[in-house]
């Protein structure tokens, strides 16, 4: 039977049935009349004997229908009609759900992309990051070679460092970010090139033997315009010729998720890229960024770690001076092992919890709206029950309505979140780094949003169930809808309190975060970012090496110093608070004889600076002297240290100047100056020791010039560029105000604050709609009562109290509970947001004020309505 004939055939069937039933009752009536009844009585008796015709017709029809499907469709149509009739309710509900489900989808999208989704390489589950200690870069190349040779747990292990090179294709040299990898890197990952070929372990034959470069797909696309003939072309990296071997597949930008590398270069050519002859063979220099290994199928991560540590024990024995006490652990790849995985996971899980709370609050909100709606419709429900509808049918109808709403909200919320996630994916928070957040949504996100929508639909649909089940049709049809709204605490009240408490938690945490961020912006960094310009100059990229480097650096400083309006110019090997980290070095107290790792006094941050650095950076010198240009290789080794260094390693702050400490190689260093403490790697760190050495005594070719001047940053930058390019036009320069540069350091706490702020706003909005709904409903329910009160002479205050007093009381209870919970929750926040302390009177006052303001705002319209009651009009109407 085709659908068409079934539909038309069915109409005839139903007409037949109708007619048949009518005739049946007619025949019975006539029969009864023949037996002597009056027509009226006979008709009544016939109907009683026949039963409920509507129900019978419905059941007869049901025989021919795809029963559930069609009745669901009927429910859907009825629900749509009902929702269209109350657009205010519908819009509020869909909007609330859109926000709540959208927020969840976005947070889950990020969580999914960064934590849950495996790395985009074949068999990602067997790929692990080998960690050594907990620092950011933790491997030396000789260590790696030993680990690779001696372990029995991995199919193969690769290691890489991240650096930057000047890439010259013949015109306009520009800086490219590179992974310097071991030859087997691509083979360990088991990926195939998009174009050309990759380099392999077999291409490595000692230092500078593999001048090859592989381009990332994105870099090939933007810098070579998808030119397929690039394979085999020679480009210059830091002035050395390298041959382009191939292009990596699209979507692969290295094993660090948010760091998109431009090119891949063999590590054996490190000397050409950096100008450093020694570091590749220095066992004590742990500068390789990350080690990734492909675990053998039968080996567990724990076994592998034990294996690595036994190799490490051998290395410690063989090289006691170079090896540290750190042990090896395995972690999942993508976020640089536990270094970023831990905090990111903690933060995102926290965020997920908070957005889950938002959804719960939204459900509580909608649940009470729904309950109110069901109470308003108790007459309708009673009527339907009286006409023979079953309770389950009515409940199904209600659930249809709630699920329809939640699906609508879910779809809109998901659409919004997809847009947002796409925007996030292409967003580059720092212009200087190829950092991005690869969070494009996938099927998982859609699924989660859908499930959340359905669950929340059922959740808030469930609220009025008890109410419906208790309905006594006889009572309600007789007496009108019940006046049960009164003194008793109802489910609705409970829901409102819960919802307000949740919202108060969100408002509290967002305020704590915002306050923390404000404080961290104003805290003492140990330098003054205002009125300072940073110039990133890598002389290696420009082809300088050896003796030419310090001379050139001196020349640049002198030239910049001559710019009018410039107060002072210094340079530093790597500025403090510049992501991703800072140099560190091991030191010993002067009395230590045995310089083995276990006797280390500390691992202070290490800076190489020129004489005027302290003045240019705004670091105050507390005692002693700064460096001079005479502190060079011919002079005794000297250092300037911070207070923390002085008290921790030298044992005295006031007498620090003149004391000595030892470096790892045994060199005695005399302390000549003392500077204030500061922040060096991130804002949440505790006080850490730091030491400064004269650049001339420990030269480095990559330095950052610090130019202090109160001139307009734009003009100053232009002047700096002009002056430096006069000296060497081939130099690649990045010039930025220091305060802008700090954006990277503040990024995590900024992101945390923004996301918490958004969630807090959503919480606030939800509490407004919740309180508004409650107050408006209560006023409209008690309109008559209020009218009588006014007629009997009630004052404005009394009317207000009767109308919205209850809402306010619930608001107060909810806020109180939420505030306490929020303060407890913000202890967690303190890990991410610098100086996020819940014991802040401003935050407490802010939350109380905010919740009170929200309450006023939400009850304003209902209160106005209550006050405008005109008893005459009202009583006449009824």
């Amino acid at each position: 039977m085709t659908l068409n004939s079934s539909i038309f055939g069915r109409r005839r069937l139903f007409n037949d049935l109708n007619e048949e039933m009518r005739l049946h009752i007619e025949e019975r009536t006539e029969q009864l009349m023949r037996e002597g009844m009056s027509r009226q009585e006979a008709e009544r008796q016939a109907r009683v004997a026949f039963g409920n015709p509507t129900l019978i017709e419905e059941r007869s029809r049901a025989v021919w229908q795809w029963p559930t499907l069609e009745s669901i469709w009927a429910d859907v149509r009825l629900a749509l009609r009902g929702l269209r009739k109350s657009p205010g309710f519908t819009i509020t509900a869909v909007l609330t759900l859109t926000l709540a489900i959208g927020a969840n989808a976005v947070v889950f999208g990020v969580l999914n992309a960064l934590i849950l989704r495996p790395l985009n390489v074949p068999q990602a589950e067997s790929l692990f990051v080998v960690q050594h200690g907990s620092g950011i870069a933790s491997h030396s190349y000789p260590d790696y070679l030993d680990l690779r040779k001696r372990n029995r747990s991995f199919d193969d292990v690769a290691v890489f460092a991240i650096s930057q090179s000047g890439l010259d294709t013949g015109k306009d040299p520009s800086n490219a970010w590179e992974y310097e990898t071991t030859g087997n890197y691509f083979d360990v990952l088991r990926i195939q090139p998009y174009l050309g070929r990759f380099f392999h372990a077999s291409d490595e034959h000692g230092p500078n033997s593999a001048p090859y470069v592989v381009l990332s797909y994105a870099y090939w696309h933007t810098h070579f315009q998808d030119d397929r003939t690039v394979v085999g072309r020679v480009v210059r990296l830091n002035k050395h010729p390298f041959t382009i071997l191939g292009v990596a597949p699209p979507g692969f930008q290295g094993t660090i998720l948010f760091f998109a590398s431009d090119i891949f270069v063999p590590i054996v050519n490190h000397e050409q890229l950096s100008g450093d002859k020694l570091i590749l063979n220095a066992r004590g220099s742990r500068w390789m960024f990350e080690m990734v290994g492909r675990l053998k199928p039968v080996v567990t991560p724990a076994q592998a770690a034990a294996d690595l540590n036994s190799v490490d024990a051998y290395l410690k024995q063989s090289y006691p001076k170079e090896e540290s006490n750190d042990s090896y652990t395995l972690a999942r790849p993508g976020l640089h092992g536990d270094y970023l995985n831990g905090p990111t996971q903690a933060f995102l899980t926290g965020l997920m919890l908070l957005s889950g709370l938002i959804l719960l609050a939204a459900c509580a909100n909608l649940g009470s709206l729904f309950a109110a709606r069901a109470a308003d419709r108790s007459r309708e429900v009673a009527l339907r029950l009286a006409l023979g509808s079953t309770r389950s049918r009515i409940l199904r109808q209600l659930f249809t309505e709630s699920v329809l709403l939640s699906l609508a909200g879910g779809v809109v919320g998901l659409a919004a979140s997809i847009l947002l996630l796409r925007r996030l994916s292409v967003w580059q928070p720092f212009p200087r780094y190829p950092l991005h957040v690869p969070v494009s949504p996938d099927a998982n996100v859609y699924l989660v949003a859908l499930v959340l929508a359905l669950v929340s639909g059922v959740l808030f649909g469930i609220v009025p169930v008890r109410q419906i089940l208790r309905v006594n049709p006889y009572q309600i049809v007789k007496a009108g809808s019940t006046g049960a709204f009164g003194r008793r605490l109802t489910v609705r009240d409970g829901l409102l309190v819960v919802q307000i408490a949740i919202c108060a938690v969100l408002v509290t945490s967002s305020m704590v975060a915002v306050r923390g961020l404000m404080r961290s912006m104003r805290s003492n960094f140990g330098f003054e970012p205002q009125n300072a310009m940073l110039v990133d100059t890598d002389l290696t990229t420009a082809g300088y090496s050896g003796e030419k480097v310090p001379a050139m650096q001196r020349r640049m400083i002198d030239a910049l110093q001559a710019i009018p309006g410039v107060d002072s110019v210094g340079s530093v090997n790597y500025p403090p608070l510049e992501p991703p980290g800072s140099w560190q070095g091991t030191v010993y107290t002067d009395t230590t004889e045995d310089l083995s790792p276990s006797n280390t006094a500390a691992d202070p941050y290490w800076y190489n600076v020129t004489p005027d650095y302290f003045r240019a950076s705004g670091t105050s010198l507390l005692a002693g002297r700064a460096f001079t240009w005479h502190d060079d290789t011919n002079a005794p080794r000297v250092a300037v240290v911070n207070r923390e260094f002085a008290s921790k390693i030298l044992g005295s702050v006031p007498e620090a100047v003149g004391r000595y400490f030892k470096l790892r190689d045994g060199t005695r260093v005399r302390v000549v100056g003392l500077v204030e403490d500061g922040k060096y790697v991130n804002l949440t760190e505790g006080q850490r020791p730091a030491m400064f050495f004269p650049l001339l005594q420990s030269p480095s070719s990559w330095t950052w010039l610090v130019v202090r001047s109160s001139r307009d940053p734009q003009q100053l930058a232009a002047a700096v560029r002009r002056v430096l390019q006069d000296i060497d036009p081939a130099m690649v320069l990045a010039i930025r105000p220091w305060s802008t540069e700090l954006g990277g350091t503040l990024f995590p706490s900024r992101m945390a604050t923004i996301s918490l702020g958004v969630l807090g706003m959503m919480g606030a909005m939800l509490s407004i709609t919740g309180i508004f709904g409650m107050a408006a409903y209560s006023v409209s329910k008690r309109f008559k009562e209020l009218g009588i009160r006014v007629a009997l002479g009630a004052q404005r205050k009394e009317v207000l109290q009767a109308a919205v007093g209850r809402s306010f009381k619930l608001l107060a209870i909810g806020s109180g509970v939420g505030l306490v919970l929020g303060l407890l929750a913000t202890r967690v926040l303190a890990f991410i947001v610098y100086q996020a302390t819940p014991r802040d009177p401003l935050v407490l006052a802010g939350v109380v004020l905010a919740m009170a303001a929200l309450g006023l705002l939400a009850t304003w319209i209902p209160a106005q309505r209550a006050l405008s009651v005109n008893p005459l009009v009202l009583l006449r109407e009824e």
């Binding site: 037949d16 005739l23 039963g51 409920n52 129900l55 049901a62 025989v63």
Partner: protein
């Protein structure tokens, strides 16, 4: 609560399929329209089975759908417009199966309910 509508269970006090079986049996004797079927069933059962008259129609629709009966509009002997139902061959076969399985079931129930007799004999 005299005005409370009959609930669904009140009309389904027969076991499922019983009404259909009785309808088929009635139709096996002679074709009939709905009203006549009700009369017939009530008389034959000595008014022991109080079937709500309307409940016949969903059952008839089920039988129609399963093609166990067929229906045709016509005029009755009393000159009324009626829709007369007739059992089909498939209906006859179905009825036989139903009756035999019903008899077996009834026998079983009766055995269990009969007092004093042990099943071991």
């Amino acid at each position: 609560m005299a005005n409370m509508p009959m609930t669904e269970t009140a009309t389904r006090d027969l076991f499922p399929g019983a009404l259909e079986m009785m309808i088929l049996e009635s139709l096996r004797r002679q074709p009939a329209h709905g009203y006549a079927l009700v009369q017939h069933i009530q008389q034959r059962s000595n008014n022991l089975l109080q079937v709500e008259e309307g409940s016949l129609y969903p059952a008839l629709q089920r039988l129609l759908k399963a093609k166990l009966v067929k229906a045709e509009w016509g005029v009755s002997t009393t000159n009324r417009r009626v829709r007369t139902y007739q059992i089909t061959t498939a209906g006859l076969r179905h009825l036989e199966q139903q009756i035999s399985s019903f008899e077996r079931m009834f026998e079983g129930i009766a055995l269990v309910l009969k007092p004093g007799e042990s099943s071991a004999t």
